[in-house]
């Protein structure tokens, strides 16, 4: 859409001031600050999971299988006698790393493809645009399922599958933005000074799409977390004994009437995390450029 392409020039010029301004705007937004704090808390939990969790994620307490919440197992145990609280804590690692790493993969592919298509135009653009269309011709979750079946399960493969599925939106946006940016005088100027294409793309063009990249990434991270949960829910996620929220929910369904907490607590963790990223993403978008609208 047109609205997405239009980035005003003044944003490009003084980046230090600009990001300072963004931070100021963000600080006024209470919801954003709460979300940010929650995300920081999640990061701390993920980093220090072994210290925070009372048990190892794979530890099986055979004396307490499927126990209700007690003072030794705060949220109860699963069918193997594993502590559900500990598994939720460890699950933070998978969710966050999928959100970040998968999105970095998607971003890298998307920005590169978008920049190449936008900058060179002509047959390069046609080729890349068709590739984007081909990849975009599958519903994302189905595509991820296909990839997981091919490359096998495991957390690294989840990164790859979700990264490969998520890059097309980014590529489209970067492409149309670069199309506009390359008409600018300073690109002409750089050319006349003998700057190479690589230099222009990486030093002049891509840095100027930074806000788009940031907004896009924060919008996509919660989606990626949901894709991971969905894949794990279908049994195509991480390998044991690694725990993931989607996987806990999937197995916990069996015990929904007898041990409702088994499904409930990881669901709360999942929804809260996605919510926090969504809200922060909205706030960031508003702060960076109110005209960027979520339409993807």
């Amino acid at each position: 859409m047109e609205a997405q392409n239009a980035l005003s020039q003044e944003q490009v010029i003084t980046s230090t001031n600009f990001y300072h301004h963004v931070w100021e705007k963000l600080r006024e937004n209470k919801v954003a600050i709460v979300s940010l704090l929650l995300i920081l808390l999640l990061i701390v939990v993920a980093l220090f999971a072994p210290q925070i969790a009372p048990y190892d994620e794979g530890f099986q307490d055979t004396a307490h299988v499927l126990s209700k919440p007690t003072n030794i197992h705060w949220l109860g145990t699963d069918e193997f006698g594993r502590d559900i609280f500990s598994r939720i804590i460890y699950g933070t690692r998978v969710s966050l790393s999928v959100g970040i790493i998968a999105e970095l993969i998607a971003m890298t592919i998307g920005v590169l493809m978008g920049a190449l298509a936008g900058y060179f135009g002509g047959w390069v653009d046609s080729l890349i645009s068709r590739i984007i269309e081909i990849f975009g011709s599958f519903p994302k979750i189905l595509f991820a399922i296909v990839i997981m079946n091919i490359i096998g399960t495991g957390v690294i493969n989840v990164f790859i599958a979700i990264g490969m599925v998520g890059w097309t939106g980014m590529a489209r946006m970067i492409r149309s933005q670069i199309l506009q940016l390359k008409e600018n005088e300073y690109v002409e100027a750089a050319h006349s000074f003998g700057a190479g294409n690589t230099h222009i793309i990486f030093k002049h063009l891509i840095p100027n799409t930074l806000s788009t990249i940031i907004v896009n990434m924060t919008m996509a991270i919660p989606q990626d977390i949901m894709y991971e949960a969905s894949l794990s829910f279908l049994g195509l996620g991480v390998q044991p004994p690694t725990s993931s929220w989607g996987q806990i929910i999937s197995v916990g369904r069996v015990y929904i009437s007898t041990l409702p907490g088994y499904v409930l607590f990881p669901s709360i963790a999942l929804v809260l995390t996605v919510l926090a990223f969504n809200l922060l993403g909205d706030a960031l978008r508003d702060a960076l450029d109110p005209r960027l609208r979520r339409m993807d």
Binding site: P139, L142, I256
Partner: protein, 310 residues
């Protein structure tokens, strides 16, 4: 215009061939094939080779792909290895389920989402607005499978109001449609509200108010007009995604739609189904995209020009 249509057709063809090639490569890169699955208990290598040959899996890859393309021209996807039926028939059966689901979901999202969005915009900052926006934000953070489990548990099992699974009667569509419909409605409500509130800052707002036309009315008329394109874009995208298979909801509610057809086929390496369904999905995407573009053109001719140049 002719040129536009022609280049569009060529693009579509290129994408379609690309999709089938990509699928073909992926299916063949995946470990194991249909013969492996079929001969799980057979120990005798000669028998395995024979089944391979009967399925045509012993031919070189490019020959297999070429044969597939040749048959595609006649819309013949072959017969499923495991379901013993023509793939075309399986797709039609799946489409009946998924298509019904897609239409009911979109209608639900449109009606409920618009109502909620209008309600919120007209009560900006007040209780209703906050409630609706809160629900909408929550709705967008809910994975579909979670809502599906929840609704199935409450309405299917505890209250026993609606069928839990399967499609023995049309009521089987209610829970899956509501599940996905609610999630889509959350986004529609947000888009509607934003578009309507955008109207407040516009010049014609002042002019209109000066003319004595009621504020509510302007917000409603202009706001809805504004909201049309983002909502259309969003619902169009949702529509294609659902038609391509709402696999999570289909799984939870045990519906034999396109999504499950494809996922089951992937698990069994049932290549004819995989190829057939992928082509079907790609076609749906092309058609829906075309539909959306034409609709844009109807609403605002400038957009079409802009997109042509894009």
């Amino acid at each position: 215009m002719k040129k536009y249509i022609r280049s569009r057709l060529i693009q579509t063809l290129v994408v379609l061939i690309g999709v089938t090639l990509l699928t073909f490569i992926m299916v063949n890169v995946a470990p194991g094939d249909a013969a492996t699955v079929m001969t799980e208990k057979i120990t005798d290598q000669a028998a395995i080779d024979r089944i391979n040959a009967q399925l045509g899996l012993d031919k070189p890859y490019f020959v297999q792909y070429f044969l597939f393309l040749r048959n595609l021209v006649f819309f013949d996807f072959g017969t499923s290895y495991f379901k013993y039926k023509p793939v075309m028939q399986l797709i039609i059966e799946g489409f009946r389920v998924t298509g019904t689901l897609a239409v009911t979901i979109i209608l639900f999202a449109l009606v409920v989402g618009l109502a909620m969005g209008i309600m919120a915009a007209l009560n900006r900052g007040k209780f209703w607005d906050q409630l609706i926006m809160g629900l909408s934000t929550l709705g967008m953070a809910l994975p579909s499978f979670l809502l599906a489990i929840l609704l199935q548990y409450i309405f299917g099992l505890k209250m026993q109001l609606l069928p839990l699974s399967g499609l023995t009667s049309w009521q089987g569509y209610v829970l899956p449609s509501v599940t996905m419909g609610m999630i889509c409605a959350a986004e529609v409500a947000r888009l509607t509200r934003t578009s309507m509130l955008d109207v407040l800052g516009q010049d014609y707002m002042r002019t209109a108010t000066a003319k004595g036309i009621s504020r509510q009315r302007i917000i409603l008329v202009h706001g809805l007009k504004n909201a049309l394109i983002p909502i259309l874009t969003f619902l169009g995208n949702s529509f294609k995604a659902i038609l391509g298979g709402a696999v999570l909801v289909e799984t939870v509610f045990g519906l034999n739609g396109i999504g499950r057809l494809l996922v089951d086929a992937i698990m069994q390496r049932d290549t004819p189904i995989i190829q057939g369904v992928t082509v079907y999905i790609a076609m749906i995407f092309v058609l829906v995209n075309l539909g959306i573009d034409l609709f844009y053109g109807l609403i605002d001719p400038r957009i079409r020009l802009a997109k042509d140049n894009d």
